[in-house]
């Protein structure tokens, strides 16, 4: 059985839990409840004809005074950095977090989920911002846990990328 540990990382209230809930359970909750510690969900998806179980570690959001706990990231096969597209500062902060955690997990596939895409009127990211994700060699996509936009796509891309990077 192939298992891949995927960590959801980002500052608080960017929608990490909502993205996991949408992907795993096809539900969306508008109520914000901060995650304490790590919640772990799993979902099996086919990758190149093989069943792959994604173990989704939904990490508590980083706040101003506390970094991501490195021991939560240990052994991750892939990372999803979640950005709140209506709070531009979370975009920069996601790169800061990436710089901090890359040293701990090495070069593993990373996706940037530019989340809350349903809130078009409040969107603060420019086209240049979004292009800069790709320019850095990262996979970036607009997502909405509310509508489901980009959600399956992001997890499936990461599953494929982790499968490819480890050869299993």
């Amino acid at each position: 059985m192939i298992q891949k540990k995927i960590c959801m990382v980002g500052v608080f209230a960017t929608g990490k839990t909502c993205l996991v809930q949408r992907f795993v359970h096809s539900i969306f909750s508008p109520r914000y409840l901060s995650t304490v510690g790590v919640k772990i969900d799993r979902k099996e998806i086919p990758v190149r004809g093989e069943p792959v179980t994604l173990l989704l570690w939904d990490l508590e959001g980083r706040d101003g005074t506390r970094d991501v706990n490195p021991s939560y990231i240990r052994g991750a096969h892939g990372l999803i950095f979640v950005v709140d597209g209506t709070r531009r500062e979370t975009f920069e902060q996601a790169f800061e977090i990436r710089d901090a955690v890359t040293g701990q997990v090495g070069s593993v596939p990373c996706a940037f989920a530019l989340n809350k895409a349903d809130l078009a009127d409040e969107w603060k990211l420019t086209k240049a911002d979004e292009e800069s994700v790709m320019a850095r060699g990262l996979y970036g996509v607009r997502t909405s846990a509310k509508t489901g936009e980009g959600v399956e796509e992001t997890f499936k891309w990461l599953a494929e990328a982790t499968h490819q990077s480890t050869g299993a």
Binding site: G37, I40, L55
Partner: protein, 279 residues
């Protein structure tokens, strides 16, 4: 009371259950168990270096509360068997706590879930199938392998962590009301008024079982508290936060909380466990 030495902290843990003032029986069960795997070397010629990682104890602390569903058959049986199944698994798997890697952690959590699924299936089978009302229970458990606390949760018992003066819930109630509020279909007020809000949406022996799984790395000074809803029906989160902040040992905290639940009416069975990481 149990005190587990696990460098750099000592864990002070205690649990208590009470029938309450209204219920005829106590259908709650709880346990606090420290898990050791040790080798007692009587004599030998190995160097101290060779003995490191081979001799010693692997300490883990298992905390479980389970609240048998009242109004149905044998709720106390369901809660007792569920707690015992977890203890049985953890006791038998003690070898794997030492230096768990990522795959080992997933294996451990998967097996804990499976042990719960096993009891669930057995209860349904003994009752005569999924369409028959079987004995049912909640279960909230923490396996603490310092500093990591793994938790598995089913139903509306709760686990909290107190850190730097703030108490936060590790678990979310798996009730119909909580799901409706989460989905935005009900307001908090509507849930409080509804008769069906407290119906369990997930229970061992129930029609649905969807365990929640997670973990948290504790810090010296943190406290964990597990409880059944006989506490939270009567004692507010604010009061729980106050009591967990008092300069008391785990036993005194538990006795204080259970006493306050009883003083406030004790309408349900109440079980509380507190575990403190003492630097």
């Amino acid at each position: 009371m149990t005190s587990v030495r696990s460098a750099p902290v000592t864990i002070d843990a205690f649990g208590l259950t009470d029938r309450g003032k209204v219920r005829k029986d106590n259908e709650d069960h709880f346990l606090v168990a420290d898990i050791h795997r040790s080798v007692n070397l009587l004599c030998g010629s190995l160097s101290a270096d060779a003995l490191i990682n081979r001799v010693g104890t692997t300490d883990a602390l298992l905390l479980v509360v389970a609240d048998g569903v009242g109004g149905g058959p044998d709720g106390d049986l369901a809660s007792e068997r569920s707690a015992a199944a977890v203890l049985s698994y953890v006791g038998g798997a003690a070898f794997c706590f030492n230096g768990l890697d990522v795959a080992g952690e997933h294996h451990l959590l998967g097996d804990l879930e499976e042990s719960i699924q096993g009891v669930h299936q057995q209860l349904l089978k003994e009752a005569g199938g999924p369409r028959v009302k079987a004995p049912a229970t909640t279960l909230t458990m923490v396996l603490l392998v310092w500093p990591r606390a793994y938790f598995v949760h089913v139903g509306d018992s709760r686990a909290y962590v107190r850190r730097r003066g703030q108490v936060q819930a590790l678990t979310r109630d798996q009730t119909f009301g909580e799901y409706m509020v989460s989905a935005g279909a009900w307001s908090e007020e509507q849930a409080m008024r509804s008769r069906t809000a407290e119906t369990l949406a997930s229970a061992i022996g129930g029609s649905e079982l969807t365990p929640n799984v997670g973990l948290i790395d504790l810090e010296p000074g943190d406290s964990l508290m597990l409880c059944t809803d006989g506490l939270t029906k009567h004692v507010s989160n604010e009061r729980i936060e106050e009591v967990l902040g008092l300069t008391l040992n785990a036993r005194a905290m538990v006795e204080q909380l259970v006493g306050e639940a009883l003083d406030a009416g004790g309408t349900d069975n109440v079980s509380v466990i507190v575990a403190r990481g003492v630097a």
